[in-house]
């Protein structure tokens, strides 16, 4: 199966949050409805970060310009990495990679240990307390399997989101990047082509990666890399210790010693001293 990808073009995004709402609707994730239930973000952004009930968040980042503020909108969600570190650490086998590159978190298998959040360089999976599972974008694999687009893509009124074969998305992104550069967005960059082995959620960042809050050269966190190293080393060390002790046991077969008492031992010590 060909690999698919979402392409998000922040230069076209109007930050209407339609995708954010549609994601919740399709995936039946509730919103906080009470007054002041969401922490005030100081901007139009709905909440400070993704949370257990929110898989997609439109961020309102601000870029200071000579003539005021420019918005640098961002679509924060799982990037569906080709080398997903979240999958590596999941102890329940709840995270898998589908043929089209989607990294799926199956919440019927998840045990809510939050290892994936710790392992993801972007801290994308969030704990959903009411269900004791972690939650993240599944690229609407259920819809895609039926030949439909992910819900967020379908709803985007500004055509800032598109979905299709990854190769086509990459080609479209590169053409758009050239256009942006020609229009004077000299910092414009494409995110996701090679990062984390190649992502299945691509991002056109007209103001440069940092302005859109994207991590440049994301890597598996050091602690997690070490964690991955410890496991095989443990196996080797355990086998070595086990083997060493086994050998020790074999060399000790037939061992015996005479019974001694305090008196016989001291007599023996005295005799040794005299010699």
């Amino acid at each position: 199966m060909a690999e698919n990808a979402i392409l998000y073009d922040a230069s076209k995004c109007s930050a209407c949050k339609g995708c954010q709402v549609q994601c919740k609707q399709w995936n039946m994730m509730p919103s906080s409805l009470g007054k002041d239930e969401n922490e005030f973000t100081g901007s139009y952004q709905s909440m400070p970060d993704l949370n257990g009930d929110t898989r997609l968040l439109i961020e309102f980042r601000e870029e200071a310009k000579a003539n005021g503020i420019e918005w640098a909108f961002s679509r924060r969600a799982c990037f569906h990495c080709a080398e997903p570190t979240c999958m590596e650490v999941c102890p329940a086998g709840a995270i898998s990679k589908l043929d089209d590159g989607t990294v799926k978190l199956d919440n019927t298998k998840c045990v809510g240990c939050k290892y994936c959040t710790a392992a993801c360089p972007f801290e994308v999976p969030k704990y959903r307390e009411a269900f004791n599972v972690s939650n993240k974008c599944t690229l609407c694999d259920d819809r895609v399997a039926q030949g439909r687009e992910p819900a967020c893509v379908q709803t985007c009124p500004a055509a800032a989101l598109t979905f299709g074969p990854r190769e086509d998305m990459l080609a479209a992104a590169k053409t758009r990047l050239d256009e942006l550069k020609a229009e004077g967005f000299d910092k414009a960059e494409l995110y996701g082509e090679t990062e984390m082995g190649g992502m299945h959620s691509l991002f056109i960042a007209p103001f440069g990666l940092e302005a859109h809050g994207l991590v440049r050269d994301p890597k598996k966190p050091d602690a997690i890399a070490l964690f991955a190293l410890i496991k095989p080393l443990t196996g080797i060390a355990a086998a070595a210790v086990f083997g060493g002790l086994g050998l020790s046991f074999l060399t000790g077969i037939g061992y015996s010693r005479d019974e001694i008492t305090l008196d016989s031992a001291s007599a023996h010590d005295d005799a040794k001293e005299e010699n």
């Binding site: 410890i230 020790s248 061992y255």
Partner: protein
């Protein structure tokens, strides 16, 4: 009539026994989480059950020594004193010979030792340090969502490092302590039996200590 020295009290043996069970259950349940392939193979319900039982036994693991500290503070201090006792020449010689002893016990004469052998002092110290680390990081992991992912991943990594140490030291501890190693045969009785060591074994293993005990007679039992 044979003479024995009462080496370990009932309280110490009970706490050690509870701690052993907790530790072994924690290692087994930890292994299921440590190796994702096992977790994936046994399925979500088992993994979830194992995670919860891991917490229950972790409470026992942390509480058992603390109970010992509260009930018998003097004994606790005694253990610590032994742990940090100064190394004399016999202690150093013991460590130098230990490798040879493990693989050639029939031809190795080990120097006399004090109440806790120098090698065991090292292993105990490391085991205690690893246990404190595993307990502290375990508490952080339990707190889960209330700590940042950065803290969580550090705790996870340190929990694993401590896990490895505990497992490796436990291998050696069981090999020697349970008396699988021939010169230590019968030593399982010290912690899982009546806590007594025969005069002959005491003189062989802990010469300096046994001489002192046998001369003072305070803990000597005739049977």
């Amino acid at each position: 009539m044979a003479r024995y020295i009462q080496r370990h009290s009932l309280l110490k043996r009970v706490i050690h026994g509870i701690h052993t069970v907790a530790c072994l259950v924690l290692i087994a349940s930890g292994l299921i989480i440590f190796v994702p392939a096992i977790g994936a193979a046994v399925g979500q319900d088992v993994v979830q059950f194992v995670r919860m039982s891991h917490r229950a036994f972790a409470v026992v693991f942390i509480a058992a020594p603390l109970v010992g500290l509260i009930v018998a503070p003097k004994g606790f201090v005694h253990i610590l004193k032994n742990l940090f006792a100064r190394w004399d020449s016999d202690d150093k010689k013991f460590m130098l010979l230990f490798g040879k002893y493990l693989f050639s016990p029939k031809n190795t004469h080990m120097p006399k030792q004090h109440e806790v052998k120098s090698g065991q002092r090292l292993a105990d110290g490391l085991l205690i340090a690893a246990s404190v680390l595993i307990a502290a990081t375990g508490v952080v992991l339990w707190m889960g969502a209330s700590v940042t992912p950065q803290v969580f991943r550090l705790a996870l990594m340190l929990h694993d490092v401590a896990f490895v140490l505990v497992v490796l030291i436990m291998f050696a501890h069981i090999y020697l302590g349970a008396g699988v190693f021939q010169p230590y045969r019968g030593s399982w009785r010290l912690m899982f039996g009546n806590g007594r060591v025969s005069e002959s074994d005491a003189l062989y293993h802990w010469g300096h200590w046994a001489e002192k005990e046998l001369k003072s007679g305070e803990n000597v039992v005739e049977a």
